[in-house]
């Protein structure tokens, strides 16, 4: 008799588990659907702008597709282009989880890139495998430092971080501009950029014939899982989530708010700085003013598009990278202005907002039907 009861209990438990898993699955579907919806709307409105420029949207998108996914080497290039965005948004995901709105990733990236180029020049002659990690670390620290100021202002004085990070963006840009036109200007070319850094300090290319450098692998295979791990599996990540959901509740449960604010913002600054360093060492091989076509801002869109989940962000940044890569082809073949890429990126963030709204409503309805059904 007891055996039968045991069996029954086990089945009930299994049913309960599948019920819960089904819930998770449904939630996931809702999120995917709304993200796709946002992307779809973006492409639609983008098509309108294409028409405004006097071209055929179908041709244009065809070329964009070809330019982003039309071939292995092209796909690799897409991946390469996505890397800085990916790295920045992973950092932003951490900050945004705690509702710390770091708008200053652009400035942090620039500071990181600048310090990376300076360090690379100074560390000339040293072997790559020892110097490169140091340079990247320094780049990260530069970005972290740039985020530290707004972090402290918010933690101790409750000054809104949106403004402070934003103002520092402009300040960073001007600092870099000064340095590039002044003390660190390339003596040979006289352009506002640093001299080219020595070959040993370039990030090694992993795939012959492409631009796939070690930094890409670092970002995709190390940074992404690490951030996921931090957010979902560590207490730190949990504390950030609580801070973001309700700062009062965070304080009341013993969380040190000051520490969390500083850590959260500084971490995202660190990754943004590293992104700058990676671009310098892996792609540009020098520091220039044009090093970032707004990666810091795109990163915001991508972080939101991916629902602050590192793997969702991976997909979203590939999308953005694809758009950027494809837009050069689009430009060449269909005469669409290069600014299209940026436009699409900014439309995406707008539509993901609407997506969030829809997702909330759907999720609420999902739970409404289940509420009050089962006690513990």
């Amino acid at each position: 008799m007891s055996q039968i009861l045991n069996r029954v209990e086990k089945t009930i438990n299994r049913i309960k588990k599948t019920d819960e898993r089904r819930l998770q699955y449904q939630l996931f579907l809702i999120r995917m659907a709304t993200s796709l919806f946002a992307v779809g709307l973006t492409l639609l409105v983008g098509a309108v702008f294409i028409v405004l420029a006097g071209s055929n949207p179908f041709t244009a998108y065809y070329w964009m597709y070809q330019g982003s996914l039309g071939g292995v080497s092209i796909m690799v290039e897409t991946l390469v282009r996505s890397t800085p965005i990916l790295l920045v948004s992973q950092g932003l995901a951490v900050a945004f989880t705690a509702k710390l709105w770091n708008i200053g990733a652009e400035g942090q990236l620039y500071m990181g890139g600048m310090l990376a180029s300076i360090a690379a020049i100074m560390l000339q002659g040293l072997p790559g495998y020892s110097a490169i990690p140091v340079i990247l670390l320094l780049a990260g620290l530069a970005g972290a430092f740039w985020a530290l100021i707004p972090a402290l202002l918010k933690a101790y004085y409750e000054i809104n971080e949106v403004f402070t990070t934003l103002m520092l963006n402009y300040v960073a840009l001007y600092i870099v501009s000064y340095l590039l036109l002044g003390p660190f200007r390339d003596p040979v070319s006289q352009f506002p950029e640093t001299q080219t850094i020595s070959k040993e300090l370039w990030l090694p290319i992993m795939l012959q014939g492409t631009r796939l450098h070690a930094g890409v692998l670092l970002t995709v295979f190390i940074a992404t899982p690490v951030v996921y791990f931090i957010l979902k599996k560590t207490v730190f990540g949990m504390r950030l989530a609580i801070l973001g959901a309700n700062p009062e509740a965070a304080r009341y449960s013993g969380i040190n708010i000051v520490k969390e604010i500083v850590l959260g913002l500084v971490f995202s600054g660190f990754l943004a700085g590293v992104a700058g360093g990676v671009e310098v060492l892996g792609i540009q091989h020098k520091m220039r003013m044009e090093i970032s076509p707004g990666y810091g801002y795109t990163g915001i869109a991508v972080a939101l598009l991916g629902y602050l989940n590192p793997f969702g962000i991976l997909l979203a940044s590939l999308f953005m990278g694809g758009v950027m890569n494809g837009s050069t082809t689009m430009h060449r073949m269909a005469r669409i202005p290069v600014g299209m890429a940026y436009l699409i990126q900014s439309l995406a963030i707008l539509f993901i907002m609407v997506g969030y709204l829809i997702q909330e409503k759907l999720a609420a309805r999902l739970f409404e039907r289940l509420e009050e059904h089962r006690p513990a």
Binding site: A53, I159, Y170, I175, L181, A301, G339, M353, L357
Partner: protein, 304 residues
């Protein structure tokens, strides 16, 4: 120098008045930046193709209005997060304006960028502008400068002395109670946003067809955000905002003067940085723990 400051501060004041009343009504509208930029772009395009700067201003006002109402749709009707919505609009504004500009004029803009011949000219107030020294500095300005001052006065009066102002303040402090008492918070917020849209669009137009005669990518360079910071510094009160704005404009004019004076030892980038740094420092000194209307920035969902 004073004349320069006043000229520089006008767009900030215009946009700022709109944002101030909107914030008193409880909405934190970061898209001022975008509205100004779109206004600058629209007015430039219209003036370039149709030759009439006043038509440009009109179109700028309408485009600002459109953006504001869209923003209202997201934040008031759908109660989405105001900060993220505002930022989103700004990013789209930068992207869209740059894109259309290049689509129209070609993507590599020639050494001489397209520019506009006819600008909004200054108006010399009779009698007053003939006063020595003070006259040209203070009384012969762009009509919009006077307009901005008028609006500041009006907003101060509106907020403290009228029933509408009371309703606005109540909406900003506690929309739940305001609704309960029969105040239509949605209508008020939309109306304020509409006003802000028009003013910000016009403010933006001043940048492209009054202060300069061309359109540059991201012309506004963060001025919209600075406006918001100035409002905080002014504790959400119109006259204090005016003071904060004037001080800022002074720094801005100073920065331009430094650049123009050809002092070589002082890198011009640091001069350019000055406005942003000053705002930052000002926030640090004065903006600590300052709270605006209690309901500022909080999404409000009507439950009935």
């Amino acid at each position: 120098m004073i004349a320069a400051s006043i000229r520089l501060v006008t767009p900030l004041l215009l946009a700022g008045v709109g944002e101030l009343v909107v914030e008193r009504g409880g909405i934190l509208n970061l898209s001022v930046e975008g509205m100004m930029l779109i206004g600058a772009f629209a007015s430039f395009m219209v003036t370039y193709f149709f030759g009439d700067p006043w038509l440009g201003v009109l179109v700028a006002a309408l485009s600002g209005l459109a953006v504001a109402l869209l923003f209202g749709l997201l934040t008031v009707t759908f109660s989405l997060d105001q900060v993220v919505s505002g930022l989103a609009f700004n990013l789209v504004a930068i992207g869209a304006t740059s894109y259309i500009y290049r689509a129209t004029f070609g993507w590599y803009v020639s050494p001489v960028p397209p520019h506009v011949e006819r600008l909004i000219t200054d108006v010399r107030l009779p009698v007053l502008s003939d006063l020595p020294i003070v006259g040209s500095a203070l009384f012969s300005h762009n009509p919009f400068t006077y307009l901005a001052l008028v609006f500041i006065l009006l907003s101060a009066y509106l907020l403290s002395k009228t029933a509408w102002g009371l309703n606005i303040r109540a909406t900003g402090e506690d929309p739940l109670i305001a609704e309960y008492l029969g105040i239509s918070t949605h209508r008020i917020r939309y109306a304020l946003l509409a006003l802000e849209g028009i003013l910000s669009g016009v403010a933006g137009s001043l940048l492209s067809i009054s202060q300069y005669n061309m359109f540059l990518d991201n012309m506004t360079m963060g001025r919209g955000y600075i406006v918001i910071a100035l409002i905080i510094l002014g504790r959400w009160m119109p006259f204090r905002f005016l003071v904060a704005g004037s001080l800022f404009a002074f720094i801005d004019a100073l920065q331009l003067r430094i650049q123009a004076s050809g002092i070589t030892w002082f890198p011009h980038q640091f001069a350019l940085m000055l406005p942003y740094l000053t705002t930052l420092i000002a926030l640090l000194l004065v903006g600590r723990r300052v709270k605006g209307p209690a309901g500022l920035g909080k999404p409000y969902k009507r439950t009935r």
